[in-house]
């Protein structure tokens, strides 16, 4: 059977059934910041080096296979569901994932609430930007509780999965309004931290994984999401996460647009702090401001498209054979560019956790 179709005009592959025979993925980012994203919003991101500078955690060969990613939970009072179907796997009235050139867009609908999530890495930017739109398509008022979730990796993707006698004690975060910072090891040898922000006031947060998820729950049913109440936890060791909580009231036909930014910041040694234990957030704030409106985000998306058009215009064929034309005009050159970029990223012989492959470990190309 088919799980989707090509949309050649938009240069996208449109997945219409989330249960693909394997996670069907896309690559975001072509410069210094990189992300891998599946058709259910699974995956991870990293800065330059997939092993040594991993921002978010990903468990390879997991069960279910593709678990962990950029997750948004919508608790609409009746159901709990995700814009990318996973991890709740709640039946949706509509699901669509459009993998485009360096972006992925998820559209979902449940209980007459429509969500649209667009994930990409703007050019020249060390961050993933997630534009999330929630729309009330019903004739009644809707009250939505929205939870975001990113699970931090303790930077080194390999020791993150091994050295638990240390790992479980080192996690540190800072919370500043709508920005949740991850600063593990920043006070010693690291000159970098990560953050997850949203361009709206939040009504709560969690930064400790076990508090948010619950030790006996999975990502499919985090206890705070089920309860519909954040616990404003501050992580000390264990497993730091970033989860925003927003209450959204939507009148019939009303739409709310939010911009989340998951970013990476480096500071010079003498500029790391603003006061004791308080990290210097100047660059983070500047980055967040670059994408604090939907207009700015859309402009960055348009810039991405212009760049791809320029790259693909070098060779365009028209044979009238649809499948041939789309391979030559879109997907083959796209894969060539992704391979160029991501073959260069991993150190350590294209093997193991250093590799920018989501699910498998290649031996040769």
């Amino acid at each position: 059977m088919k799980y989707g179709h090509f949309d050649d005009a938009n240069r996208e592959y449109v997945i219409t059934d989330p249960k693909t025979p394997y996670p069907w993925i896309n690559y975001l980012g072509n410069e210094d910041f990189f992300g891998l994203i599946s058709n259910t919003a699974g995956g991870y991101c990293f800065y330059k080096d997939a092993k040594f500078r991993r921002l978010t955690r990903y468990r390879y060969n997991n069960v279910p296979l593709d678990t962990g990613g950029r997750y948004y939970y919508i608790n609409d009072g009746d159901s709990i569901w995700n814009p990318g179907w996973k991890p709740t796997q709640t039946d949706l009235n509509f699901y669509e994932c459009r993998h485009g050139l360096s972006y992925s867009k998820f559209t979902a609908e449940k209980n007459e609430i429509r969500s649209e999530l667009t994930c990409f890495i703007p050019r020249g930017t060390n961050a993933e930007v997630h534009k999330l739109t929630v729309e009330n398509r019903s004739s009644v008022q809707k009250k939505i509780k929205l939870f975001s979730l990113a699970e931090w990796c303790l930077w080194n993707a390999q020791t993150d999965m091994e050295n638990f006698q240390r790992n479980l004690s080192v996690g540190e975060v800072e919370i500043d309004g709508s920005v949740l910072y991850h600063k593990t090891e920043y006070k010693e040898r690291r000159n970098h931290y990560a953050f997850f922000s949203v361009n709206a006031p939040i009504q709560g947060f969690d930064t400790d994984r076990e508090t948010f998820v619950g030790l006996y729950n999975g990502f499919d049913a985090p206890q705070t999401v089920v309860a519909g109440a954040p616990q404003n936890s501050e992580a000390h060791g264990w497993s730091p996460i970033a989860s925003h909580y927003l209450e959204i009231d939507l009148k019939p036909g009303e739409k709310r647009e939010l911009v989340f930014v998951l970013g990476y910041i480096e500071n010079e040694t003498d500029e790391k702090w603003t006061s004791k234990n308080v990290i210097n957030k100047t660059k983070a704030k500047a980055l967040i401001e670059q994408f604090n409106t939907v207009e700015k985000v859309d402009a960055a998306l348009a810039e991405l498209a212009i760049n791809w058009k320029k790259l693909l215009d070098v060779y365009q064929v028209s044979t009238g054979v649809e499948k041939l034309d789309r391979m030559v005009n879109i997907w083959n050159p796209y894969q060539c560019m992704v391979t160029l970029t991501y073959h260069a990223v991993p150190p350590f012989l294209n093997r193991g956790l250093g590799v920018a492959w989501v699910f498998v470990i290649p031996i040769k190309i």
Binding site: M1, K2, Y3, G4, F6, Y13, T20, P21, Y22, W24, I25, Y27, K48, D49, H99, L311, L312, D313, V314, Y315, Q316, V317, S318, T319, G320, V321, K323, L324, R326, M327, V328, W331, N332, P333, Q335, C336, M337, V338, T339, L340, Y342, H343, A344, V345, P346, P347, L349, N350, A356, W357, V360, P362, I363, K364, I365
Partner: protein
């Protein structure tokens, strides 16, 4: 990052981002050794060769000739050859890049085995055909263990590669005014060695093993024919006049091709062969053991175009091109918009099942096969050369190609239903001789009309 991988990736993206290709070439070449051999892997961040893995993958040096010639053909930037590039990252040993290519070529010349064919070293492109390894310890790496390093195992794939890229080197020499007689002599000797020692009767041998026995011969019980040497020897058109290429390609069609693509070898190995190494560790039909490696299928496709068999070339391409496999999604499993590294071959438990999508040299090689050899727009040193080899039922198609600052709108017509052969070519309304479009001024748009016949 691998020396051979990076050079091959480059042929897929040089037309999109030539500046990155140039930088990449200089980085890669700086990890070459003074004798022309190369670190098999290098660290992209430090740009240094990886000493733990070392070298001795004897196909490596020749790939540099491929990437450099592809870059110059695309850009016309000959200054690349004059760049000073170190050996083993030691600036004190730098020479110009052209000299690196001379040493790449020379490495093979200086590394021949008993049949005057290139020694394979630890492995060539097929890094699971480990003819100097002999491992009985499951904790050893097949790629880095040489228990019985010898100077007998030879590769017919490298022989084909040497002839193909050696000729490219000779072209570069001519442009630089360097005497080519010696190089041409070495190439002619290699062609003779392949014909004499590398031909099995119906196809090209794959190798000679540590004991000097044939690999990929009808004399073997399993692994009688391999794809890599058929690909490289037919791309290099070795023995074409005598009909060897046609025979080899027919043997591929008969023995290696199946509905999901062309398998790597046949029959698949059913036992572990210690003198062959990792290839025989996989279950039949998977990975190097008779799986369909989408990376090397284009070598056959290009070989078919050089023999003028457009229908077969296009047919092979369609078998592995993901958009054509969309309806097989439950079997194929991987993305229908992206090439996978491997599709399970006809001997597998589940033929047609793909694995390892995205980061694979498959993308680059298929790009070259379809955009250049099939559709027929070849970047060349002095302009775009038009030489398609298509399905006979394609009547007309057009291509827009940006090349060195100008845009070429190329319409190819095939009124007689042929596969190949340019009868007539008009550039901006004027008939021209040959198949090379003269270079146009930057910013200009050129209309090209091509009639096959």
């Amino acid at each position: 990052m691998g020396f051979r991988d990076s050079n091959q990736d480059l042929i897929g993206f040089v037309h999109q981002v030539p500046a990155r290709a140039r930088e990449r070439i200089l980085d890669i070449a700086a990890t070459q050794f003074e004798d022309g051999s190369a670190y098999h892997q290098y660290q992209p961040l430090t740009k240094r060769g990886n000493a733990e893995i070392g070298g001795d993958f004897n196909d490596d040096p020749l790939w540099l000739i491929l990437s450099v010639s592809a870059y110059i053909k695309e850009t016309g930037d000959w200054s690349l050859l004059d760049e000073q590039v170190p050996y083993d990252n030691d600036e004190s040993k730098a020479t110009d890049l052209f000299d690196h290519l001379t040493r790449s070529f020379g490495f093979t010349v200086n590394t021949l085995g008993p049949h005057k064919l290139p020694l394979i070293g630890r492995a060539d492109w097929n890094d699971c055909l480990n003819l100097n390894c002999f491992s009985n310890n499951p904790n050893e790496s097949f790629q880095t263990t040489n228990n019985q390093s010898g100077r007998t195992a030879e590769s017919l794939m490298i022989a084909g590669q040497f002839v193909l890229y050696g000729r490219e080197y000779v072209e570069l020499c001519k442009y630089r005014g360097v005497d080519t007689r010696e190089a041409e002599g070495h190439i002619a000797e290699m062609v003779e060695a392949v014909k004499k020692e590398g031909w099995d009767g119906e196809w090209f041998l794959r190798a000679y093993d540590y004991y000097g026995k044939k690999v990929g011969s009808k004399e073997n019980d399993e692994g009688q024919i391999f794809i890599e040497s058929q690909g490289f020897c037919t791309m290099a058109e070795i023995g074409k006049e005598e009909g060897l290429c046609e025979k080899a390609l027919d043997s591929v069609h008969e023995r290696l091709a199946c509905e999901h693509g062309i398998v790597l070898t046949n029959p698949a190995f059913t036992n572990y062969v210690v003198e062959y190494g990792e290839i025989s560790t996989y279950p039949p039909g998977y990975k190097e053991n008779a799986g369909i490696f989408c990376h090397n299928n284009p070598w056959i496709i290009i070989g078919e175009t050089k023999a003028g068999n457009g229908d077969r070339a296009v047919d092979y391409w369609k078998r592995i091109a993901p958009a054509y496999r969309e309806d097989l999604a439950d079997l194929h499993k991987m993305e229908p918009y992206i090439y996978s590294q491997m599709i399970a071959g006809k001997d597998a438990f589940k033929p047609g099942e793909a694995k390892n999508s995205w980061l694979t040299g498959t993308a680059a090689w298929n790009w070259v096969a379809i955009s250049q050899n099939i559709l027929g727009v070849h970047p060349d040193y002095e302009g775009l050369r038009i030489d398609p080899c298509i399905s006979r039922d394609w009547k007309r198609y057009q291509i827009s190609r940006e090349f060195r600052g100008a845009t070429y709108l190329i319409i190819i017509e095939n009124p007689e239903g042929l596969s190949a052969g340019v009868k007539r070519m008009k550039v901006d309304g004027h008939d021209i001789e040959g198949t090379l479009i003269p270079l146009a001024a930057e910013g200009s748009t050129v209309e090209v009309r091509v009639i096959l016949g």
